[in-house]
Amino acid sequence: MIPESWSLQEMVDPVLGLYALLAVGLLVVSGLVLLGTHVAGKNVSSIWQTYRGWLIMAPLFLVTLWLGRVPTIVGLGLLSMLGFREFARATGLHRHWWYTVAVYVSIVSLCVLELMTDPRTGLAGWYGMFMAAPVYVIALLLTIPVLRNRAEGQLQLVSLSIVGFIYMGWMFGHLAFLANSTSAFGYLLYLFFAVELNDVAAFTFGKLFGRRKLRSNVSPNKTLEGCLGALAVSMVLPWLLHFSFPHFGWVELLLSGIIVGVGGQLGDLTISAIKRDLGVKDMGTLIPGHGGILDRLDSLIFTAPFFFHMVRWFHDLY
């Protein structure tokens, strides 16, 4: 039955609504800037493609969050599996289905742990088992050579599977676990927003002032100037977005800034190191203008767990 009258506030959480407005505002402004540059006669086709990617990803993410806890956890779980698939196909692990299936099953199990209720405390998400999950998964992966009665070359496969699971499954899984928190909207939206803005800031500052190379053997295009500029932006952001977590004091705000500013850059550099070793340019081609899923999520993977444990230390999740 349609209610006699309803206000927007009843339908949309105020934090989610504010972020939606923020996203629309930023997309419109950057769209206009791009249009202006295009009219001025500069070639913006590659940035345009990246921008178009955002036009699709931002609403998709906001709508999934709006739909609720279960769709958010399931959606992030699917993303996790797609990310692992990219990793497996880039390393050649995808030819060994014993290992890939074991990791896929483990990622699904993580999702179940995020969705279920803690049998001891009755709170959403089985925190203890989620944190203990790597013990069981690593034991399982190490057992596969024994089960198959094979030794040669198995250590490489076991190692790749463990990295794939810990990185794409477990570390990224912290983000989905945050959906169980009473301030889920604020935490998740802050992380997404701050991490992506940190990326854009690093790119912009690097383009404008970049001189000194940051890590020449890992990612030749990143500069110290870009990195510091992004850090500065990230340090300011938690204060501007204080409405996401009104219960945060200045220590938490400071830590949030450092986690995103440092973790965001490190996440980018770690995936670059992996790509360099593998000899590939992008991890995939799923998102035109952005590369693969891992190219987009790398910074989130490196910030989500640290932010999660910081929040839990000061305020608990609930």
């Binding site: 196909r89 880039a90 050649g92 995808h94 030819r95 992008d282 995939g284 081609t285």
Partner: protein
């Protein structure tokens, strides 16, 4: 400080083999061969095989005679007479489910891999090997030979090259000779009975007539020389082997 062997930063590189079809559009990924292993394809193919097998069993009362003659576990070539689109799924149904991802029916590239929907069907469900019968037949035959070098791969071929239009048997093309002359790869001749009645060329929907597959003794042509004459000889020898399996009535 002198550098000793233990302090060196040199690390032996691991052997990575990224998927060959990375960064390719979907249609190329489906048309390419050899195909990379895709878990989702395996799941869909196994499901499709289960459906097809039960349909054959119930609707066509499908029966396999002398199934034990198939050298499962080794590489071999499965050949049969070609009457209908039912032939390929019939032959695949003789192979245990866990081996079907390594059974490759040679499928005409110009017909079965012409666009996205047909390529999706031919690669996911059929696991077909895109055979370029018109332009580059020899190249495709070399691809087949390479495939068979991997222990456990199965190649399914209809040496007539096309389906019979009126039910009368066609002539085996000498290309099959090129594949097996001078190798110890076993070739298993089969005769499929009833497929022309069930689904002749041009028919839309299969009739529920009975299908029986007669599996023959495996044979190989290790001593055959790689000449046109011997290829022709092998082809006619196999043709005889296949049609001798036809039950006398």
């Amino acid at each position: 400080m002198t550098s000793t062997e233990h302090e060196t930063e040199e690390v032996q590189a691991w052997q990575y083999e990224p998927a060959a079809d990375r960064n390719r559009p979907l249609v190329e990924l489906l048309q390419g061969f050899p195909r990379e292993p895709h878990l989702w394809m395996y799941v869909l193919r196994t499901t499709a095989a289960l459906v097809i097998r039960s349909w054959f069993k119930l609707y066509h009362r499908f029966e396999i005679r002398n199934k034990e003659r198939l050298p499962i576990g080794k590489s071999f070539i499965l050949i049969a007479n070609h009457q209908s689109h039912l032939d390929t799924p019939c032959l695949v149904s003789t192979i245990p489910l866990r081996n079907i991802h390594r059974a490759f029916p040679a499928a005409a590239a110009d017909y079965f891999f012409k666009d996205l929907p047909t390529s999706a069907f031919s690669s996911i469900v059929v696991n077909g090997l895109p055979f370029k019968r018109q332009a580059r037949g020899a190249e495709s035959l070399i691809l087949c030979r390479e495939l068979l070098k991997n222990e456990g791969n199965i190649l399914i071929i209809f040496p007539e090259g096309t389906r019979t239009a009126d039910g009368t048997p066609g002539v085996f093309k000498p290309g099959i000779g090129l594949l097996c002359a001078g190798t110890d790869i076993p070739i298993v001749p089969c005769y499929l009975e009833g497929a022309f009645k069930a689904l002749p060329k041009g028919a839309r929907f299969p009739r529920p007539s009975k299908l029986v597959l007669h599996v023959g003794e495996p044979r190989s042509y290790e001593d055959a020389s790689p000449s046109k004459e011997s290829f022709k000889h092998i082809a006619s020898d196999l043709e005889e082997a296949v049609f001798n399996l036809r039950p006398k009535s």
